[in-house]
């Protein structure tokens, strides 16, 4: 029956645009259920769209393909069981063949805890900016529920809050493999609670979160103005604290400054220990780069690491992104040794302050400034050498740097004919090889316009 769905898909692929196909039909999963083929959409919106526009056609095609043995095709929203609904005993998954088709990559989280195994203390690069937070986290990992509860880690984006928080979870698991540790983003908590309310399963939800050994919630500023979630979290918080279960929270700012949170919740957030992570200083940034490279088995000269770290200052994510860029470039070009020049070249897009949008107006303005003439001279009909040459240069640059057609360029220069533009381009091309001053002017202008 699943091959029937494949045949339907093949047929549909020829009938709708590839965009339509990729947006609405690809995300459908087929599940065989007796004589019924159940199609599952990942969410309500895709479900409704497919239902309105494609389901009829799908049923028609299936009918034609299997007129000897009619199949009924139904459409539903895939109901991904939230964590609190999952039963401990293994369930017989209906769509096993589909879920097993997606092999998990190495660093994927344990399904039960959602922890990413690569976020461990050993991989966390310590520096002045984060050593206090790291020390506190290690304390918590050794004595969960006792020393600092809750542990509240705050700091800007991309500085390693999630890493540190999960490192505690992973260390706790290493000490006690059967510990029930749950990591989640605050959004998941909110979304799961909404689901629980919809499905009348709020008791399961409460029980699930109130019986964990450690609860790790990331980015709690996203609880802002979600009163119902805050209230539920408040009670979960109290229960866990009473039972001496560890709570770790992160946020982009100090607890008292998180807006949209109830006062009673805010004050409790500060009960344990609140530690900040600051942006890494230069030496730490260099150390982070060197460590990433050793993970990837890439040799990086410290001069090059300093070069990158001096230019990418804001956060660790950007630093890692820059390194990715360089490594991908080296892999592609087969470059073995990463030099400063190579790094500079790879990062030229990211390092450029602002990519100027090159327009004909911009070219005219720049050319006029360069040759010290007025922009209106470029539009005027005068053929005197002092303005005609710059005009030709501007036309040639417009041809080279924009996507405008020759007639469009001619129009932008006082309504000239496209043959005039063509002539100008040829003339400048010839002059560039004959006259080194023209070549120099042209190159200077290119550089001004494209950097």
């Amino acid at each position: 029956m699943l091959s029937l769905w494949q045949m339907c898909l093949d047929r549909l692929e020829g009938e709708v645009s590839s965009q339509q196909y990729n947006t609405w039909l690809r995300p459908l999963k087929a599940v065989e259920d007796g004589p019924t083929l159940r199609l599952q959409a990942p969410n309500r919106f895709i479900h409704d769209w497919v239902n309105d526009r494609f389901l009829g056609r799908i049923q028609e095609i299936a009918h034609v393909l299997k007129d000897d043995d009619p199949v009924s095709i139904t459409l539903e929203v895939a109901n991904k069981e939230p964590a609190f609904q999952r039963k401990i005993e293994p369930e017989i998954a209906l769509n096993k063949s589909f879920s097993s088709a997606q092999a998990r990559p190495k660093n994927s989280p344990r399904p039960e805890s959602n922890l990413n195994k690569s976020f461990i203390f050993q991989e966390f690069v310590e520096g002045k900016s984060n050593q206090l937070a790291k020390a506190a986290a290690q304390q918590v990992a050794e004595n969960p529920g006792e020393t600092y509860n809750p542990l509240f880690i705050y700091g800007g984006v991309g500085l390693g809050k999630t890493h540190l928080m999960q490192a505690v979870g992973n260390a706790m698991l290493a000490n006690k493999p059967d510990a029930h540790i749950v990591y989640l983003h605050s959004e998941r908590f909110v979304a799961d609670m909404v689901k629980a309310l919809q499905h009348n399963a709020i008791d399961n939800f409460k029980r699930y979160y109130r019986t964990v050994d450690a609860l790790l919630i990331d980015d709690i500023q996203f609880f802002a103005n979600k009163e119902r979630s805050q209230e539920e979290f408040f009670h979960t918080f109290n229960t866990l604290l009473e039972g001496q279960k560890q709570i770790i929270l992160t946020s982009d700012r100090y607890p008292k400054e998180v807006t949209g949170l109830e006062e009673r919740l805010k004050s409790r957030l500060g009960w344990g220990l609140t530690v900040a992570i600051e942006p890494p200083e230069l030496e730490t940034r260099v150390a982070i780069l060197m460590q990433k490279c050793s993970q990837l088995s890439i040799e990086l000269d410290s001069n090059v690491a300093f070069f990158i770290a001096q230019r990418i200052r804001s956060n660790v994510r950007e630093l890692e992104g820059a390194l990715r860029r360089i490594v991908a470039n080296a892999n592609f070009t087969g470059e073995r040794v990463i030099t400063i020049d190579f790094a500079k070249k790879s990062l030229s897009d990211l390092l450029a302050l602002q990519d100027k949008l090159v327009t004909i107006e911009n070219i005219q303005k720049t050319v006029a400034e360069y040759f010290k003439i007025r922009i209106s001279d470029l539009h005027a009909s005068s053929r005197s050498r002092s303005v005609a040459r710059p005009r030709q240069v501007a036309m040639a640059l417009s041809k080279e740097l924009t996507s405008h057609s020759l007639p469009e360029i001619g129009n932008a220069f006082g309504g000239r004919d496209h043959t005039t533009v063509l002539h100008a381009c040829k003339r400048i091309n010839n002059l560039r090889t004959e006259d080194s001053r023209v070549e120099e002017d042209y190159k200077n202008l290119l550089r001004i316009l494209s950097t």
Binding site: S17, S18, Q19, Q20, N22, T23, R26, P27, P42, N43, R44, F45, I46, A78, K80, A101, Q102, A103, R104, P105, N107, S108, P109, N114, N116, G156, V157, G158, H185, E187, R188, D218, D219, F222, D252, S314, N315, R317, E318, E320, G321, R324, R325, A328, N329, F332, T333, D349, L350, Q354, D355, S403, H404, S405, L406, P407, E408, H418, L422
Partner: protein
Amino acid sequence: MAHQLPLGITLRDNAAFENYFSGANGEAVFALKQCAEGRGEQFIYLWGTQGTGKSHLLQAVCKLEKNAVYLPLSEKESLVPDMLEGLESMAIVCIDDMEQIAGDPEWETAVFNLFNRVRDSGNRLIITDNVKPADLGIKLPDLVSRLNWGLTLHLQLLNDEGKLSALQLRAVKRGFELPDNVGKYLLSRNTRDLSSLFDLLDQLDEASLAAQRKLTIPFVKEVAGLRD
């Protein structure tokens, strides 16, 4: 600047890696292929101006990895942020035209949440845009830093020679030949934006089939109503 034509029309040619002329963009194509084969980076941010073939490449990715989904945010008027729910179960999620939702808090949060869920599920996410992440105008700093985290790839516009080759490759894939002189003529008389040129090429193909005539400059002039 020419308007981008409805994707349903411009992409009907069944965009694939084979019919993308990479020119100076070999590295981006290489990285995207790897991604479509389930290797390489988990997050890719692909940027370049209109006409660099971002949508084409995303379709090509979906063609290679069947368990993928494509979201054109240029059509956000008829879409809602909730449609990102549950997509983390796909092996690859492709989000096209991210600039369309920059500054829209609901969409930004939805993409941010999707990003986190994809990270946790170990699957892959490709986002395209016409500028680099820092210039995108995203308000949510959490999302900006995540966009910077992935592999950033810049697609360059082809030069005229490259555009001619791209047109000829496109023609061959459609089963006809585009002579050099006709190709150069098209490039010199039209907006040299590739998606418009491809569209014109499709029109010319249909017209030459209908009229049973070869693609010559006089014929092109006639069909496209171009002046000398």
